[in-house]
């Protein structure tokens, strides 16, 4: 029963309770029949364990299906995830555009470092990726890919954006010179946003087409 408690956690009460009760009745019936037939309790325990192990992949698949169902029928939860993903992608696109505009503005008339050019190109690519991610997240069929793209955009935009913006901002230039942890913070933010979108992508992952239905 520990296994059933594990794979029904977080599911709607009615679904989880239904599965637990049904399994309890099944185990009771198996045990009662074994008693009638005089089967040793240790053997019954083994048989139950084997049945649980054989059905474990199907239990996981069933859990995923139930979560997907709960997610699609629960507008608050679904909309919350969707809203967070779309707002994040929109903010990244906006951040990328602002960074590019500021970078272009300062770039005229001042010496340009090669590393800044590289960072600028990364921000261009990152902004385009974030924009594409925004469109893909808005479409249900491409939502999963959109979340992955948004995670990739974050990797390009945050660190490179800092690199591009630093020469344009006195505050950033000062902070960058006096606070070595600034870059580490940017790196942490980049990884954090990447993981956030990876988690969303996993939640939206479509069923594998070539996966055999669990027998």
């Amino acid at each position: 029963m520990r296994w059933v408690e594990f794979y029904t956690r977080g599911l709607p009460d009615e679904v989880a309770t239904g599965r637990r009760e049904e399994l309890l009745a099944d185990l009771h019936d198996q045990s009662a029949e074994a008693d009638e037939l005089g089967v040793a309790p240790a053997r019954v325990a083994r048989q139950v364990t084997v049945r649980a192990l054989k059905g474990a992949p199907a239990d996981i698949a069933w859990r995923r299906a139930q979560l997907r169902l709960a997610s699609s029928s629960g507008p608050m939860r679904s909309d919350g995830l969707f809203g967070a993903a779309i707002v994040g992608a929109a903010l990244m696109t906006l951040l990328g555009i602002v960074t590019l505009l500021r970078g272009l503005h300062v770039g005229t008339g001042s010496p340009i470092l090669w590393s800044t050019v590289q960072a600028f190109v990364a921000v261009v690519v990152g902004t385009a990726t974030a924009g594409c991610a925004l469109v893909m997240i808005a479409r249900p069929r491409t939502r999963f890919l959109g979340a992955l793209w948004a995670g990739g955009a974050a990797q390009l935009l945050i660190l490179s954006g800092l690199e591009v913006l630093t020469p344009t901002s006195t505050v950033l230039a000062f902070a960058s010179a006096t606070e070595p942890a600034l870059r580490t913070c940017a790196l942490a933010a980049s990884v954090g946003v990447g993981l956030f979108y990876l988690a969303i992508a996993l939640a939206w992952m479509p069923p594998l087409r070539n996966a055999k239905a669990t027998e």
Binding site: R19, E22, R51, A61, A213, E215
Partner: protein
């Protein structure tokens, strides 16, 4: 989660429908462990996995080929056991069974009894 086309049944699901269709109880229902035993042809050594069985039952119910109800508390309490979920084949399930693409496989000649 299933990648199968909607409406396409697995061999296991056809077998479950066959067993439900041949139920001999007054209310023509079957329950989990009874199906597990019958699917193993009476042997308790090769019983189907819990997850496999209940996932298939859930899918057939979702597809409208089986309908289920909880056993009356009075019945389970008088028998001193947890209540069972009872499954009955629907008209849709019978149609699916009749229109099975390959020749039906005989799984058991014994009537299904509780």
């Amino acid at each position: 989660m299933s990648s199968r086309p909607v409406g396409r049944l697995l061999e296991l699901e056809y077998r479950i429908l066959e067993l439900a269709a041949s139920a001999q109880t007054p209310d023509r229902t079957v329950y989990g462990f009874q199906l597990a035993r019958e699917l193993a042809d009476g042997s308790t050594n090769s019983l189907i996995g819990h997850g496999t069985l209940y996932k298939a039952l859930g899918r057939l119910s979702t597809m409208g080929m089986l309908e289920w109800t909880w056993e009356a508390d009075a019945v389970s309490e008088s028998a001193g056991r947890p209540r069972r979920r009872l499954y009955a084949i629907t008209g849709e399930g019978e149609v699916a069974l009749r229109s099975r693409p390959t020749a039906p496989r005989v799984v058991s000649t014994r009537p299904v009894t509780a």
